[in-house]
């Protein structure tokens, strides 16, 4: 019962080891702190956006071990030993084809939801290179856009699928 005897304490924080965008980090934060706040406030990675705080809008989407999750619902201790990818990580090697597709197809207006959208699309396409329209809709069902409308976003996803099939590489910009 070693972990139970010495719990992660909010007062005397032990490091929570994880990987963020490929870099090994030790998070010295309260264990139940939301990943969203860890990223934005402690690590100054503000590409991940804050909005609803209850997992409804998708603006705060990140990938944990390759799967999309809402960082507002994820607590720091749940990241222990995990690999986290944020929007900053997606573009670390240059513009990702998904990002390029959103630009070219008009998949955004104000852009606030876009980082979350990009993450959800990347999580989808990394697991399923050729999703059906229904699968795309399901994958994006947790991402709300309130100004673009979804037509441009759907076109962007289709374009990204085509580019990835053609071997478009990051940094072609």
């Amino acid at each position: 019962m070693k972990d139970s005897i010495n719990p992660l304490s909010p007062l005397d924080t032990r490091a929570i080891p994880c990987t963020i965008n490929g870099n090994d980090v030790s998070l010295h934060v309260p264990p139940a702190k939301r990943l969203l706040h860890v990223l934005r406030d402690d690590l100054a990675m503000t590409g991940t956006k804050r909005s609803c705080d209850i997992g409804r809008c998708g603006a705060c989407m990140v990938m944990v071990d390759g799967a999309a999750v809402n960082s507002c619902l994820t607590m720091a201790y749940q990241c222990s030993g995990k690999s986290i990818t944020t929007i900053e990580g997606v573009s670390a090697g240059g513009m990702d084809p998904i990002q390029r597709a959103f630009l070219e197809e008009g998949g955004f207006q104000c852009g606030y939801c876009t980082p979350g959208m990009i993450i959800s699309v990347k999580a989808l396409l990394d697991h399923n290179a050729d999703p059906s329209p229904l699968e795309i809709e399901e994958a994006l069902s947790g991402n709300i856009c309130r100004c673009t409308g979804y037509g441009g976003i759907k076109r962007a996803v289709q374009r990204a699928i085509e580019w990835r099939k053609e071997g478009y590489e990051s940094g072609n910009d």
Partner: protein
């Protein structure tokens, strides 16, 4: 954005028991100050909305290997779904899809993939109103608890009937949900359907959640009829009187009309400021009637 703009205090101790006995012991130690947590998605929304205070101690059961078991006993044809199995795992599991297809469909309709990647079947069941429950209820579900002694088994329907008023279950740890695969009688075909009616079908509390499973013989007579309804804050339940009424009958216009009336009469959903009881009753009756009509064709 939630009302408390800076968010709730994020200062509980987080414990990581490695087995069910440790977890249970921690809960006994902390009492109401300690809360079991798995995916934590529902808890977080309750903390944010002020429905529950963040506890002093979180007992994270994620590290307990036993709770992650998903399997099928070929001999007894029972499925075992550990409480830590995520809704995404259920959504994509070939084993679940093959043996309990309504549960696959239910998982597809709960929240969005990003939440399903965190949220667990245990959390969905223990919410008492989760949209997996109407599907589960059609597979004779049994809850397996750790209660500090030899374990406790309890039909899900029994637990649902008292969980809202008797809180003793909060002292126990849910280990798994066991499901029985329905057998198919010779010379019959099975019909199943699951529906979630809501303003945004994958994302808001549903107006009505319905699951139905039945057998039809070559004369279109019904047998092994199972129907469950829930939705919103309604605790799901089987419609046993309707099931008994339909058994042995053909799903013809007369029977469907009577079932429609029975549901309007007997189903007792909870209403709210957006969707009144009368609307929910009518939606439920329409859904079941339309599925019976489809089954009869």
């Amino acid at each position: 954005m939630a009302a408390n703009a800076q968010g709730v205090a994020e200062a509980p101790f987080v414990w990581h028991p490695s087995n069910t006995a440790e977890a249970w012991q921690l809960k006994q130690t902390f009492g109401a100050e300690g809360v079991f947590t798995a995916g934590g998605t529902l808890l977080r929304t309750q903390w944010e909305s002020g429905l529950a205070a963040m506890p002093t101690h979180l007992i994270n059961v994620g590290a307990i290997e036993e709770l992650h078991r998903l399997g099928m006993d070929g001999e007894s044809q029972t499925g075992h779904i550990g409480t830590m199995i995520t809704l995404s795992e259920i959504r994509t599991s070939p084993l679940i899809h093959k043996n309990f297809p309504l549960l696959t469909e239910a998982a597809r309709n709960i929240a969005a993939p990003s939440i399903r990647n965190l949220a667990t079947i245990g959390g969905n069941v223990l919410s008492m109103v989760g949209d997996s429950i109407p599907a589960l209820l059609l597979y004779d579900p049994v809850l397996h608890w750790h209660d500090g002694s030899n374990g406790l088994e309890e039909p899900l329907s029994e637990w649902l009937s008292t969980a809202a008023v008797h809180a003793a279950w909060k002292e126990r740890l849910l280990i798994a949900v066991e499901l029985a695969k329905p057998t198919l009688d010779t010379n019959t075909k099975r019909f199943v359907a699951y529906h979630k009616v809501g303003r945004r079908d994958a994302f808001t509390p549903s107006v009505i959640t319905a699951a139905i499973s039945l057998q039809l013989d070559p004369d279109h007579r019904l047998s092994d009829v199972r129907i469950a309804l829930g939705g919103g804050q309604t605790i799901p339940s089987r419609l046993e009187a309707v099931e008994a009424f339909l058994t042995g009958k053909p799903a013809d216009k007369k029977a469907i009309t009577q079932v429609y009336g029975m549901i309007l009469e007997s189903f007792e959903p909870k209403g709210d400021a957006f969707v009144p009881v009368s609307y929910r009753k009518k939606a439920a009756a329409n859904l079941i009637a339309s599925e019976l009509w489809k089954a009869s064709r």
